[in-house]
Symmetry: C2
Subunit: 215 residues, 2 copies
């Protein structure tokens, strides 16, 4: 028997349990970080025995991979939704910052310290490009006349990477700088590196993004 979703009850149940496992995993991640993520601990929180988890995830790595994928997906959806409802670059910056602050460890799962040897699944780079595509559109919209820099010329010869986007070097440049500047402030903020410095990171981000589209 299949219901309206085209899913059998068993499939629905599976998805629900998978979701709950991931939910608990996120909680554990938020409070103790990746290294402390333990399958047995998660199982206990979900209310079942350790081995039962293996019905839903093939291994610990498999679970983490799923979390990474979800993190990317969530970020891409958030950014796209913001853009679609008319957010400009400063707006996108605020959106991304809010998203990151709502779960710092999720942000770091994507952009944090890489584990030597570990390679993220291929499809995450596709989602990553998806985010960049939105940024490119937003940067295209906020065009501004600026003198060309050597880096612009450098991008000129490597533009293929952006795919089918009709992006000028200046647009590419702006998208890259938006990304790196935002990440620079945001990751240091989330890591607590600004503690005691008594300034509002939000204003610095606003200034950095503003500098990109004006001046």
């Amino acid at each position: 028997m299949t219901n309206a979703d085209g899913q059998s009850p068993r499939e629905r149940y599976r998805d629900q349990v998978r979701a709950e496992i991931k939910q608990r995993a996120w909680e554990q991640l938020a409070t103790a970080g990746v290294p402390a993520l333990s399958l047995n601990a998660i199982a206990k929180q979900v209310g079942m025995s350790g081995p039962a988890l293996y019905r839903y995830f093939a291994s610990r790595d498999d679970l983490i991979t799923a979390l990474i994928r979800d993190a990317y997906r969530s970020l891409a959806d958030t950014v796209r939704a913001a853009f679609d409802s008319g957010a400009d670059l400063p707006g996108l910056a605020v959106t991304i910052r809010d998203w990151a602050r709502s779960d710092p460890q999720r942000y770091f799962l994507i952009y944090g310290t890489p584990v030597p040897g570990y390679h993220a699944p291929d499809d995450t780079t596709a989602i990553s490009r998806e985010v960049m595509a939105v940024l490119l559109k937003a940067c295209h919209a906020s065009a501004v006349d600026k003198p060309e820099t050597p880096f612009d010329k450098h991008l000129d010869s490597h533009r293929d990477w952006a795919g089918d986007h009709p992006a000028t070097s200046a647009t590419l440049h702006r998208a890259l700088a938006f990304w790196t500047r935002l990440h620079g402030v945001l990751s240091l903020e989330l890591a607590g590196q600004f503690t005691g410095m008594k300034f509002d990171p939000d204003l610095l981000i606003a200034d950095e993004v503003d500098d990109l589209t004006t001046r």
Copy 2:
């Protein structure tokens, strides 16, 4: 008996062994990351039994703390040395990037994903301020006329943090932006986020720093 250093032979030996332990720890860190850092594995590499390490470090956390301290110290010394031999902001950027690339995990030990709950020792913030002090000096030297932004005004009321440095808001602002911009590009580069994008991160950094002191 004490020698010219004011150290007894035993003290000298202790320091040497401590240094070798840390050396092996760095190697392990570089190839497997913090979570995989194991006292027993290090001991084996140094050529002694596991428990012997406890003569030199009180615990695993104690060793990691020492590594963090050394990382900060190394960065501060490197930056100061570069500045003292006349490096300007672009030069400092290159110096820091080289330092980071020579041992990415060391960089991430300082600026990477924070472990929830763990707090770095207090004196590291002092070393951190030391680095910032050099940046402030370098930024002071490369003064440039720019229109005042809202963030400049914001810094105006929180300037105390810089300590005794005679820094204007604009200088503070430039030092902060230098730090966050450099970290933004550098950390994404080291994390491999630019893979396949076919541009030279070095040029982006140069451009970002250049934008700070000109234009």
